[in-house]
Structures are given as structure tokens and as C-alpha cells.
Symmetry: C2
Subunit: 231 residues, 2 copies
């Protein structure tokens, strides 16, 4: 059963009311729950995730295509990849409070799966697949208007991966420079994630430090901060 | 300008009439043509390809999801990957006669780009992006009904990559067998492609031969034919 608080929250926050609440229920059923409760004959959310993945791909693509009429295909593709990546969808899932309502098996619950990014990504996709099936594509667009477009409009997915390139270009204007990224620490963080801290140096001089849930993200963050000090 | 024969063919074969023929024109403009004719200020089809890629991903996903209500996510994902791969889209492009109408620069034309699979794939996506923009998603679904669904319904994308696994399982029922795939020949074929011929043997005995535009495809084809002789 879907929690009554959840259907109320969907209604009040997003104006969403499912006609077939069993589709919503399926979207919020993790395979570990379905496996533990075979007697209930419940379906897990993996097929809806398959559909929702494609629904979101189109919805985000169409928004970017129309919002940036003069941006070439390569940059649109990079922005789309940033918007639909695991980390982004997991974040949208949390913002929509989906993490509170997914049904998990005991083992997965104890292993902390409720806050695992890949699970929350799949859940976000499954919800959008369910919404598409039950209420149509316009309902998904309306939901994205509230959850995804504000992040796109804030420029969060623009060139996020290009800070290292930009820093290199900026530093090498004056001739060859030896740029290095050094891992300073790696520790456990919330949500079963690791937190990496990286320093960037130019000819041995430290220009900035960055953190992130992967070494790559930490390096980008360090490059971003270094660029800010150079600007 | 879009050739009049083409707009007539779209109308008579597919019942498609564009409201904004300049969008159709953009879909059929390769970057090499746009580069050679900068004075015309024409756009190439890459942005439409970006959009069409996502349009097709959803359209195919929705069809598979509804057609196969009992098929698990993993298999749906494999079927989708087979249906939307370069080779499939290039084939649909040719079936729709799109190869006749794309506008290419001279250099690319002379290099045989008109029959290049990746170009025809991009063209198919760009056309579907243009159709989606101009006529809406239902028009894309109607077009897919004529061009893609017959191939899905014929089972062409089911487990196509599993013939080698199936052959192995079939042969090893009776104990360990040494299975080998040997490349017999590799030659130039039409459309700038290579044609590979492979033989599959079990304990040195040849069970079948297959051909394909890659070694992998030829091996799958050989396994498929071997399975047919063993059935």
C-alpha cells in the first residue's frame, strides 16, 4: 500500500493525483521488497524504470532544445548528460521526498540502500514512468517544471565538466605550466558515499582545493575554485 | 530546398505533410553541406538529431513496454538497444528512402558518405526530431508503426546477441566441447562496409558459417546457422 501521507504530499506539492494507485505502488517497490513478499505477488519497479528513463531523456532533451536555440548539439548533449546522471536524479528524488516512501526488503534497508544514489536514481525514473503511464507526458513535463527546470535554469549543468580544461587554457596563456591534481584525503561521508579532497597546483604552487563524491568531481571542483581566485 | 519528389513521397507513403518545410529541410542538411554553403545561412541537422534520438528512445521504449507486459527490464533493455542501434536506424533510413534526399557537401559525397551507416542513423534521428517538432509525438508514433514496429513484431531484436551463448549451452549439454570461431575472409562490400565470413567449429568439426559487417556479427550469424542445423 502507498502511504496516505505520500499521496497527500504528491497532491499538495505537485498537484499530482494518480488514477491507478497500483502503478504508483509499483514505482515505489524495490526488487528486494518484491522478493521478500512473493506471497503478495507485487511487481518491482524495474520495468517502470526502463520506461521512465526514456520519458525523462525526451523531456529534458526537449526543454534544452527549446531553451537554448543557438547552442550546438555537442554542448546540448553534455548538458543533457549532466542533468540525467545518477547524482542529479538521486538529488531530485530526495527533493521530492521519494526516499521516505520506497518499500525495501529488510536486508537492503539495513544496508542503508534507502539513501543509495543509484537506488534513488532508479526510483526517480520509475516514478516518472508511472506518471507518464497514468497521467500522460504533459503531467511529466509539469512535474519536471517544478523539480528539474529550476536546476537547469540556474546553469547547474552548463559546462560542469570543463573547469579543468578552462583552467589549463587560462594558465597556459603565459606559456607552459605544469598542472597537477593531488589527492589529499578520501573519507566516508553520508549516504554510503566517499568524500574526496583534491588540491590543484601550477608549477608546484597550490591554486585551490576541491571536494566531491568522486576524484573526478573533486578535481573539477578544485579547478573551479582555482579559476575563481585567478579571475 | 527539399525536393518535391520527397515531399510527395512522404505524403503518399506515410501520410506526412510538414507545416514548416524548413524544419524538414534542416533535417536533411548534413554539416558538410552547411559548411560548403555558409552564404545560404542554412543550419545542419545535428540539433534535430539530438532531439530525435530522445524521441525515438521513448517511442521504442513505450512500444516494447506495452507489447511485452511480462518481459523483465533486462530483456527490454537489450531489445531496445538492438532496435535503436546504428545498423537498425541506417536500415530504416534506407527503407524510407532518406538516403536519396540528404544534402551533402562535395567532399563527403565523393567519399561515399551518402551510404555511410552512421550518417543514415543521424539522418533518421534528425527526421524524427523534425517530425516531432512540426507534427507532434503521435505523428512519430504513426511513422514508427510503418517503419519500425514490423521489425520488432518479426522478432528481429529479440536476443540477437545471444546466439553464441545459446550455441555454447546447447553443445555443452553433453559435456565439455571446444568451440572455435575462425575468420575465413574479410572483403570490401557495398556502402563502404567490410564483409566478414566466419566458421564455427565444435571439437574441430565445422557446424556453420556466417557473414556480417563486423567479425562479431559474422560470429553471431554463424552461431545462429549452427543452431538451426542442430535443432
Amino acid at each position: 500500500m502507498v502511504a496516505i501521507e505520500f499521496t497527500r504530499e504528491l497532491h499538495s506539492r505537485f498537484g499530482i493525483d494518480f488514477d491507478h494507485v497500483e502503478i504508483l505502488e509499483e514505482a515505489f517497490t524495490h526488487s528486494s521488497y518484491a522478493n521478500e513478499h512473493r506471497e503478495l505477488g507485487v511487481h518491482d519497479n524495474e520495468r517502470l524504470e526502463f520506461l521512465g528513463d526514456a520519458v525523462l531523456e525526451l523531456t529534458v532533451s526537449e526543454y534544452l532544445f527549446k531553451k537554448y536555440p543557438d547552442v550546438p548539439e555537442g554542448k546540448l548533449t553534455r548538458m543533457r548528460a549532466a542533468a540525467v546522471q545518477t547524482r542529479s536524479f538521486a538529488r531530485f528524488s530526495r527533493e521530492a521526498h521519494f526516499d521516505r516512501y520506497i518499500r525495501l526488503g529488510h536486508g537492503e534497508e539495513n544496508a542503508g540502500a534507502r539513501q543509495r544514489d543509484t537506488l534513488l536514481e532508479d526510483l526517480f525514473e520509475a516514478f516518472c514512468g508511472a506518471l507518464f503511464l497514468d497521467q500522460g507526458r504533459q503531467a511529466v513535463i509539469k512535474f519536471c517544471e517544478q523539480i528539474i527546470w529550476p536546476h537547469i535554469d540556474a546553469g547547474e549543468f552548463e559546462d560542469t565538466r570543463d573547469f579543468k580544461t578552462k583552467l589549463q587554457e587560462r594558465l597556459q596563456r603565459g606559456g607552459d605550466v605544469d598542472i597537477e591534481y593531488n589527492l589529499l584525503s578520501e573519507e566516508d561521508a553520508a549516504n554510503n558515499q566517499r568524500l574526496f579532497t583534491v588540491a590543484v597546483t601550477a608549477d608546484g604552487r597550490e591554486l585551490g582545493r576541491g571536494t566531491g563524491t568522486s576524484k573526478k568531481h573533486a578535481e573539477q571542483d578544485a579547478a573551479h575554485r582555482a579559476l575563481a581566485t585567478l579571475a
